[in-house]
Amino acid sequence: MNQIRVSEKGSVAMGAPLLSVQNLQVEFRTAAGVARALDGVSFDVRAGETLAVLGESGSGKSVTAQAIMALLPRAIGSIVGGSILYHGIDLAQRPIHEVRKLCATDIAMVFQDPLSSLNPVFRIGYQLAEPFRRRLGMGKKQAWAKALELLKRVGIPDAETRISDFPHQFSGGQRQRIMIAMAIALEPKLLIADEPTTALDATVQKQIMTLLADLQAETGMAMILISHDLGVVAQVAERVAIMYAGRIVESGPIRDTYDYPAHPYTRGLLDSIPNAAGMGRQLTPITGSPPNLLSLPKGCAFNPRCPSVNDLCRAQVPSLRQPEGWAASHSAACHRTGEVLAHA
């Protein structure tokens, strides 16, 4: 039996990445042609670290998560190149059922819409106990007790009675707490949260982000936080990767990236956010709209919307590189990084 059971192997060496995605390429075959949803995406996540993946709709942030978890829509989406190394195992090469097995215990995911991810006809307790029973082979009673423990841990009030309720009886924020409880049930090493708070009100959003940060501090798990909202992740993430049209256009420590954006897209995103300083004045949005992946512009995908575009940008795709004289961890995929930084 060549089953992969990483969790028993012990922990990774200090400093080595827990998950290392290298040059990942994903394609979707659609009726209108082949769309390259991810093109050369590379990033590392170290144990205990939070990486924020930011981007607008269609930038490939969710596809990245789906590729890691082997959740790409089977008929049309597939990994066509690159590797996803987890503990030395290349998830991109393994058959789907093996990856799923690994994901059950080591990598967990929280989705945007908790109501459609919970089964409406089973009690919450049953659904929470499922991973314990299926993966760890616990008995009914023991698993139920574990489920109750989880429910308390994610802050559902009156957990003893609520555990027998059905998903529709909970509020949106509580449902997301339940999803998080299910995700952390088997103490994963890596939690991927795909827009975990997008459907929630601001006050609830803050509670959920705090819960995720607290759980991370307790368990020491790594987290990939996928979002379109630059503000939501700023409080909890250490590093950030900005995606545009299937590529990472800038990555680095979140403070460096927000304070000194080296890619015009990052700068544009930051300038687009309404804030108190610019009240009543016009915002400075990015012109145009995100590109169609089926017909990407030549050269840098951002060039039709870029304020500092030149001929090189229209001819050659820029690779991710470090701006001169910058910290090793901050890099941007822009031919004109020098000019963009000079604007600051």
């Binding site: 700023a234 409080q235 709209s289």
Partner: protein, 282 residues
């Protein structure tokens, strides 16, 4: 209870609005109880002014908007528009009023008929109100409106699905402008848009206001958008107004606990630059 705003007659004045949804018994559909969605809401919107309604989901923001435009019959209170009490207007009477009052919805795709071209979508309102634009001028007028909201007029023969989310919202705005209204109600009009596109649409709304002297009733759960766009703001909580005032006052000196908790939950883009947020950083 108004601040020293413009001394104009209010365009819209809502007083003591109450809306309740009936809760019916399962078999006989008899009304057994009612759920009060909005209670005792009072506010005015002056010509050319932007008033924001904020609150969490279920706070009654959309109910207020829908009763102002006549989609819901209020159970109490009065709604005056342009000097007329429209609370008890019949559908026929409302038709004339709605010309002055238009709405832009959250999901631009769901609110656009997929079988109509942009030109027909914009001209649809003129079919209902034939005296606004003579039929022969529909195409030209629709192209004008498209240009005004930042759409390429050459695309007037395309269908809604051929446009991106931001462009569809521009179509929705063009439709709202077609009858030259005085008031536009924006119900979460920019909430579904990406940040960069959202900024474009917010700018467009501001430009149109300056050009055409429009008043907006702007509904959003996003406080930073409200802060950016609005002159005055009402904070709704469980169907009641807990705080009302000039946007600067509310955001700088919130009086009510609920407003404070709402404001403290707004994500800050650079928390390390705000002293009281920096200490919470992990």
């Amino acid at each position: 209870m108004r601040d020293a705003g413009p001394v104009l007659e209010p365009l819209l004045s809502v007083s003591n609005l109450k809306v309740a949804y009936p809760i019916r018994s399962s078999v006989l559909r008899r009304v057994v109880a009612e759920k009060i969605a909005v209670r005792d809401v009072t506010f005015t919107v002056a010509p050319g002014e932007t008033v924001g309604l904020v609150g969490e989901s279920g706070s009654g923001k959309s109910t207020v908007a829908r009763s102002v435009i006549g989609l819901i019959k209020p159970d109490g209170g009065t709604i005056e528009f342009d000097g007329h009490d429209i609370t008890r207007y019949s559908p026929r009477q409302l038709k004339a009023v709605r010309r002055q009052m238009q709405m832009v919805f959250q999901d631009p795709f769901a609110s656009l008929n997929p079988r109509l071209t942009v030109r027909d979508l914009v001209a649809e309102a003129w079919r209902v109100h034939p005296d606004v634009v003579p039929k022969g001028d529909w195409t030209a007028a629709a192209r004008d409106l498209m240009a005004r909201v930042g759409l390429n007029p050459d695309y007037s023969d395309r269908y809604a699905h051929q446009f991106s989310g931001g462009q569809r919202q521009r179509i929705g705005i063009a439709r709202a402008l077609a009858l030259r209204p005085k008031l536009i109600i924006c119900d979460e009009a920019v909430s579904a848009l990406d940040v960069s596109v959202q900024a474009q649409v917010l700018n467009l709304l501001q430009d149109l206001q300056h050009e055409l002297g429009l008043a907006y009733l702007f509904i959003s759960h996003d406080l930073s958008v409200i802060e950016h766009l609005c002159d005055r703001v009402l904070v709704l909580h469980h169907g009641a107004v807990v705080e009302e005032g000039a946007v600067r006052d509310i955001f700088d000196h919130p009086q009510h606990d609920y407003t404070r908790s709402l404001l403290s939950a707004v994500p800050v883009v650079r928390p390390w630059a705000v002293p009281e947020r920096a200490e919470l950083l992990v």
